[in-house]
């Protein structure tokens, strides 16, 4: 258990490529932080820097107030679960679990006791004599977890540990990992590209893009109030829809407008609307008309892809109910709030409610 403090961490490679810019993050004792972002955003590099597997180009990393920049992974007292588990293929499950303790000179009976305890905690007590190749994916995952848990480290690091599992096992394991982490109350840093995994597991979420942190907050805070257009598009499934609108001709359905700022707003802005906030209605009776291009039935609901008249972008509508619209039809769209407004650079705009007198006629 520990506090983790990242101060202006940077990573530069010899060739001059700057992959991480000024990462500032502090993680509380026992907290589960999930770092999420598209591939290549630097999230794995960040994790490996915390682990001590990558050097820190500049900035400082503190664990419990000690600067650990120059320390080897083992000295930092962290444990890591790798994407491919990295179990030692020639060692039995017992030896895999015991290896780190052996390297620390733990007495034999102490090792046996802790392996026994850990393997029971993870439900792998019956597998101790097996080699990793005799285990299923889920069992390997558990052994990898066990190898991290057994040392009772100060910090847990997870590098996309569930991406090699099939979908149903992934759901089960993410619940197990979360439960275990809460039970042991160990400070954790978890990296994933899967936003569902991120939302369900995190105490706080860190969204990264192109080597920078876009936003830090609880999953629901990020969902309700994304700070940038990138976060808005990344969190939530299916992704948020965006419409580009000219600022001097905002349509009547938009119930919010940008708040007055010192700088006058010019040009265009984007409006983000979540798929569940668009309703299909009969053609001509909604805020705008659109043509249905694709219908994806999911059972309890369906995703309807529509192209509004006069717009280039396609919108996704979450359509409840079992009656499916057909592709090619014309439909009306009712757009409801909350709307998220972003400027040209993707930054969230402060808004104010729209006054009644500025209502525009319906867009056709």
């Amino acid at each position: 258990m520990a506090r983790l403090e990242l101060r202006r961490l940077q990573k530069r490679y010899a060739g001059g490529a700057n992959v991480l810019h000024d990462i500032e993050l502090s993680i509380n004792d026992g907290e589960m932080i999930v770092v999420v972002g598209p591939s290549g955003c630097g999230k794995s590099t960040l994790l490996r820097m915390v682990a001590g597997l990558e050097s820190i180009s500049s900035g400082e990393l503190f664990i419990d107030g000690d600067c650990v920049n120059g320390q080897e992974p083992a000295e930092r007292d962290i444990a890591m679960v790798f994407q491919n588990y990295a179990l030692y293929p020639h060692m039995s499950v017992f030896d895999n679990l015991a290896y780190s303790l052996k390297n620390r000179g733990t007495p034999k009976d102490e090792i046996a006791r802790r392996v026994d305890e850990t393997s029971r905690l993870l439900g792998i007590a019956s597998l101790l004599d097996r080699k990793p190749r005799q285990l299923s994916g889920g069992q390997r995952q558990r052994v990898a977890m066990g190898r991290a848990v057994i040392r009772e480290p100060r910090v847990f690091l997870f590098d996309e540990p569930l991406s090699n599992l099939d979908a149903s096992l992934r759901v089960q394991m993410r619940q197990e990992i979360r439960a275990l982490q809460q039970r042991l109350n160990i400070t954790s840093l978890y990296v994933t590209h899967d936003q569902t995994e991120a939302m369900t597991m995190a105490d706080r979420l860190v969204v990264m893009n192109a080597g920078r942190i876009e936003q830090i907050g609880t999953p629901m805070a990020l969902f309700r109030k994304p700070a940038t257009r990138f976060v808005a598009g990344f969190i939530g499934s299916p992704a948020m829809n965006f419409l580009t609108l000219a600022i001097n001709a905002l349509p009547g359905w938009l119930t919010k407008v940008p708040a007055e700022t010192t700088e006058p707003l010019k040009g265009e802005l984007s409006v983000g609307i979540r798929p569940e906030h668009i309703m299909l209605t009969s053609s001509g009776s909604g805020h705008m008309d659109a043509r249905i291009e694709l219908v994806e039935p999911l059972g309890s609901e369906s995703l309807v892809h529509v192209r509004p008249n006069g717009h280039e972008t396609r919108l996704v509508v979450r359509h409840a109910g079992t009656e499916l619209p057909t592709a090619g039809q014309l439909t009306g769209l009712n757009l409801q709030g909350p709307f998220h407004l972003f400027d040209r650079h993707g930054q969230r705009l402060a808004t104010r409610p729209r006054l009644a007198d500025t209502t525009c006629p319906m867009e056709s």
């Binding site: 001590g52 080897e72 083992a74 890591m80 790798f82 990295a86 293929p89 020639h90 620390r104």
Partner: protein, 281 residues
């Protein structure tokens, strides 16, 4: 792959049997000839069955100093064995350590080191035998085991093969070991060596036979009879003083020289089949 065509089976077996015979024939002839009396061998006909001498020639070779060489054959075999083991173990040790450094460590001129090792693949001992002799003579190592083994102890081939194998291992394995508190030596001994078992067994066979069959270098470096190896002595045996080479002894010694490599292959084969079944990358 298996096709259910009897004709194909017959054809395949015919080809295999012919191939086996072609390879076996010289060995069979040597074994048969080594059991003949000297007189029977010089009658001019190829022996088709075991002769009257039985194992007499073998006993002679092993118990008495061999004519023209001066030491019994077991001494020669021991010399050969020491040389072959020295070369095989030396090559494996150096190659696996060099490959470990090349794959898992980042140091300046790493690629350059690899290419330097790699190009020595193209330099056989024959090309560098004169300077090698000079160096070994200057060090006073002629007619000694170190002098015999040291010039042959580096192997670009084995380094290259270990390097290729190490590169197939996921890098996370070393990272996991680092997180688990294993230093470079621990990782090498606890993880890399056990995983390389199969490769080590296979390369040991190849390198042992390579060492056993060395001819030119022992001939140059070992001029005294006490230090002669079996393979280089074969030639000396056939140069006889009275004009008729003792073919009965020469064939018997050839068969003796075949035995240790065969034993090594039989033992090691079991090992690397076990390795293939037991471990998985």
């Amino acid at each position: 792959m298996r096709y259910h065509r009897p004709g194909l089976d017959v054809l395949a077996h015919t080809i295999l049997i012919i191939g086996a015979l072609v390879f076996m024939l010289p060995v069979i002839l040597a074994v048969l000839a080594s059991t003949q009396t000297p007189g029977a061998l010089f009658s001019g006909t190829l022996p088709l069955w075991f002769g009257a001498s039985g194992l007499d020639h073998y006993l002679t070779l092993l118990s008495e100093p061999v004519r023209g060489i001066g030491v019994p054959a077991w001494q020669l075999m021991l010399n050969s064995l020491l040389m072959a083991l020295g070369i095989a173990i030396g090559k494996l040790t150096i190659a696996i350590l060099a490959a470990y450094a090349l794959v898992f460590f980042r140091f300046p001129f790493r690629r350059c080191c690899f290419w330097l090792i790699f190009i020595t693949l193209m330099l056989p001992i024959e090309v560098r035998i004169v300077p090698t002799y000079g160096v070994v003579a200057d060090l006073g190592l002629l007619n000694s085991y170190p002098g015999l083994v040291l010039p042959l102890i580096a192997s670009a081939t084995a380094t290259f093969l270990f390097r290729q194998f190490f590169m197939t291992l996921p890098p996370e394995l070393m990272e996991a070991a680092r997180v688990d508190g294993a230093g470079p030596w621990r990782f090498f001994i606890d993880i890399l060596l056990p995983l390389s078992k199969t490769n080590i067994a296979a390369l040991f066979v190849i390198m042992f036979i390579y060492g056993w069959n060395q001819y030119l270098w022992p001939l140059v470096a070992m001029s005294s009879a006490d230090n002669a190896t079996l393979v280089m002595s074969l030639k000396r045996l056939t140069i006889s003083q009275d004009g008729t080479p003792p073919w009965h002894l020469a064939t018997a010694m050839t068969v003796l020289s075949l035995l240790p490599p065969v034993v090594v292959i039989v033992i090691m084969q079991r090992w690397f089949i076990k390795g293939l079944v037991d471990t998985e990358k």
